[in-house]
Amino acid sequence: MRQIKTKTGIGRWLPRKFDREKAAGTLEFTDDLRFGPELLHARAVRSTIARGRILSIDYEDALKVDGVIKVVVGKDFPHHFGLYLKDRTPMAIGQVRYVGESVALVVAESEDAAEEGAAHVKVEYDELEPVFDPVKAATNNDILVHPDLHKYDHVGFVTPQPNTNIATWFRIRRGEVDKAFKETDHFFEETVTCPQIAHGFLETHCCICKHEKASPELTIWTSAQSAFTVREIIAKGIGYPLNSVRVIAPPIGGGFGGKAGMTIEALCLAAAMDPDIKGRPVKLFIPREEVMISSWVRQGYVARIELAVSKEGKIQAIRNSFWFDTGVSAEYGANPVRSAGYTSTGAYYIPNVWTDCYAVYTNKPFGGAYRGFGLPEFMGALELVIDTVANKLGIDPVEFRKRNLLKKGLPTCTGMPMHDHGLESIITKVAQKINYDQKEEPIRPGWKRGKGIALAIKAPAIPADASSSAIVKINGDGTIEVLAATMDMGQGTYSAFAQMVSEEIGVPYDWIKVHFPDTKSHPYDWQTVASRSTWSMGMAVKQAAISAREQIIKLYSEFWEVPEDCISIEYGSVICSKLGKSERLDERIQNGFKMPDGILKGGPIIGTGSFTPPDIVYPDLETGQSPKSVVHFTVGAVGIDVEVDPGTGQIVVNNVAAGYDVGKAISPVGIMGQIEGGTIQGISACLMESMSYDEHGRLLTPDFTDYKIATTMDVPSSVDAFWEEVPEELSPYGNRGVGEHSMISPAPALNNAVYDALGIRIHSYPLSRERVFKAVRALSNGEKDFWEWPYELEQVFRRAKKSWE
């Protein structure tokens, strides 16, 4: 008998949690918190050169600025921090490694004074030759970005190569690759490049740290995706017990991976832990331009992909060489490189696989997590190659994809068998939605119209033991509070959790609150990343809700003297139809029931839940093989119909369809938002986004005037978003994540559509107007491929581009 009834459970379209406060403008983000006059403000002095030794830091004049109370430099706070590889110090010590690296921190009574003070710090450098090209850095060890690489602590699955610039090297060795290439009917080799791109969240980094004057206790308020991981990295870095570091994460204004792990907290801490400052809170607000020059980016890459294809159009082997430009630090960036590596046959079955993915240090800002975590990069290249190969073979690109699809039971590149999924049906629907089979006339006279499709696949790229836990508290009036340390940064997980609790306990959604993370009160969760929360934290929340429900029903069973299965909870009331009883949850849930025997029983009801993925095995370091490398994959496809103006290089998206197999839609409004938003973010990245540097490594695009992101003028009127529901086995309700996936394939789908429109393949992202215009010119000169290199890349890659000819 179903014991629960609710109209606001999973699968319902409901107003999202905190939307009201967001619409009103009253929700407090980190920068909105008030600390009173004791608050100090910090401002970083940043390196103006890309590589060099620090000869001197003169801050005498800064200390004379009215309001400045202290200047802290790197050697004052020499702790190393990092999630997977401890290659970071909050400030440069002895040498700088990129333009924008913090070399000193000015602390003052006001923001203005800190800024003024920072302008008065003089730093002298002995400039050294930098390296910006990841392929050059990987293949030539004359310039080492991290000469001390061998000394850094790291987790076992990251493989730094000492005395090189390679921070990690991920390999797949599967099948007989050389043999397959030797015997193949068709051989193809393609290269694709993409620059670093910025997250472009609208709330910049902001953090407040306070260290107690007389005891080793630390409180951090920060714009972070993952309160507990900030706590762990900080505590390990400074050698504090976990319970002496409290991290409070107020709502954040967009993350997209850029606020994952630890970001600016350690820098702020360098001030807050200073003996002269302890006891006062210190705020570090990073203005937009500093965010752009100094913080996390999506890694750029140079990809070379070789394919062996039989005359029947079956892919027999793939050889991948992926150079990720991880910039100055791979503490987090090492892992998207692995994520790309262990998904390096995409959504296809390829029996023979050879993959080398490298995270390469260069003298640029550092690569870290970014929506899609290695897969927009990898699929951004692979899906172009698949399309190119299909066209060269004269096979319809959709048919070629379906012919090679990674169907249920077939092994992925790590040897793990693929689970069931709805990708084939999604591909068909996407093709129908954009009229893929019809060559349509352009709407705009003189323009060229084309259509393209690309597939998406991604697993949560998490450590094997990434755990979650949750608490569900039933209040004395039947309302419920959920403590689940996921950050709701707009993806809507709090709504999803509330729907799960409503589903399990039978109380209305409106009675349920989910609180923003505070490590002091919340139970542990690893991170809000990897599209894992509705799945992993969902497991914990569901378990906690069931546990609370079971306690309620057990108490009522004893109270009413009926078996437990005679009791249900419907719309917030506990009901026994046999006895004709119906009671609202009330203070007895909190204070106990006077049982028929006269004894008071019960007390506050708290449900708890914990989850850890049970059976993940890290891929072998030599071969990349593992019986279960990841928990599951979410798959999907994007189809885009574009028009290109050959006269200006302008691209306009006529229509875009995007579908994913989400297993089960818990909160449809959230999924819709993730698909719409991620699709546009992907289109934006494809059309206009690039962190561009001059020959000295200085960022040429440090603000939204120069670093373009899509505005209302650049997007289609709508996104045709849809999903399939082939349930996941180990999952709260069969659901899988979709937050990142929507950004994986818009770029290659768009690129494929532009190829369809123009007949020339553009191998370098982004497809800016200038670049498209140049490609049109190249086409008129008889070219079929177009590259533009962001730096002087190795000639070998120029040669590689057409070696099949």
Partner: protein
């Protein structure tokens, strides 16, 4: 630096604030607890600090507080009705899933309000133009287009002038 007194109407109430001549309206508003205006870039690029000055949408980081002397400034908080009900524009953003992280939302709402005041039934082109200075990284704008359309319909159902704030 010498401070000056500036007087203006903030969300319908007269305020008198001491400011330095160089202080922006954005920082002044935040100083007195108006947190709907955000410091997204402080250089006029992102629109998260959009307010109405008299009836025109302005990026409050791009004007000095002293420039609003004697004028009327409206922020997203000022659209809320006295009984706590949200303005139809704010409600439409919720209904259409046009809010994700919420950082751009107050600015978007104000830009929409300015648009609907001058053009109650805007074409899609007008909507795009009116919101072109307001960046949103989460929604991809398509849900915001729906919200503006819905807000336009909701406001037409209100009695004449009831949606004016």
């Amino acid at each position: 630096m010498t401070k000056h007194i500036v007087r203006f109407i903030l969300n319908g109430r007269a305020v008198k604030i001491e400011v330095e001549p160089r202080t922006t309206l954005l920082r002044t508003l935040r100083e007195i607890g108006v947190i709907s205006v955000k410091r997204g870039c402080e250089e006029g690029e992102c629109g998260t600090c959009t307010v109405l000055v008299d009836n025109s949408p302005q990026k409050s980081c791009m004007i000095l507080a002293m420039e609003v002397e004697g004028r009327s400034v409206t922020t997203s908080e000022g659209l809320i009705f006295p009984d706590g009900e949200l303005h139809p524009i704010q409600q439409a953003f919720i209904d259409e899933g046009a809010i994700q992280c919420g950082y751009c939302t107050p600015g978007m709402v104000m830009a929409t309000y300015a648009l609907l005041m001058r053009s109650p039934d805007p074409t899609e082109e007008e909507v795009r133009n009116a919101l072109a200075g307001n960046l949103c990284r989460c929604t991809g704008y398509v849900s915001i287009f729906r919200a503006v359309k819905k807000a336009s319909a909701m406001m037409k159902k209100l009695p004449q002038g009831a949606g004016d704030r």
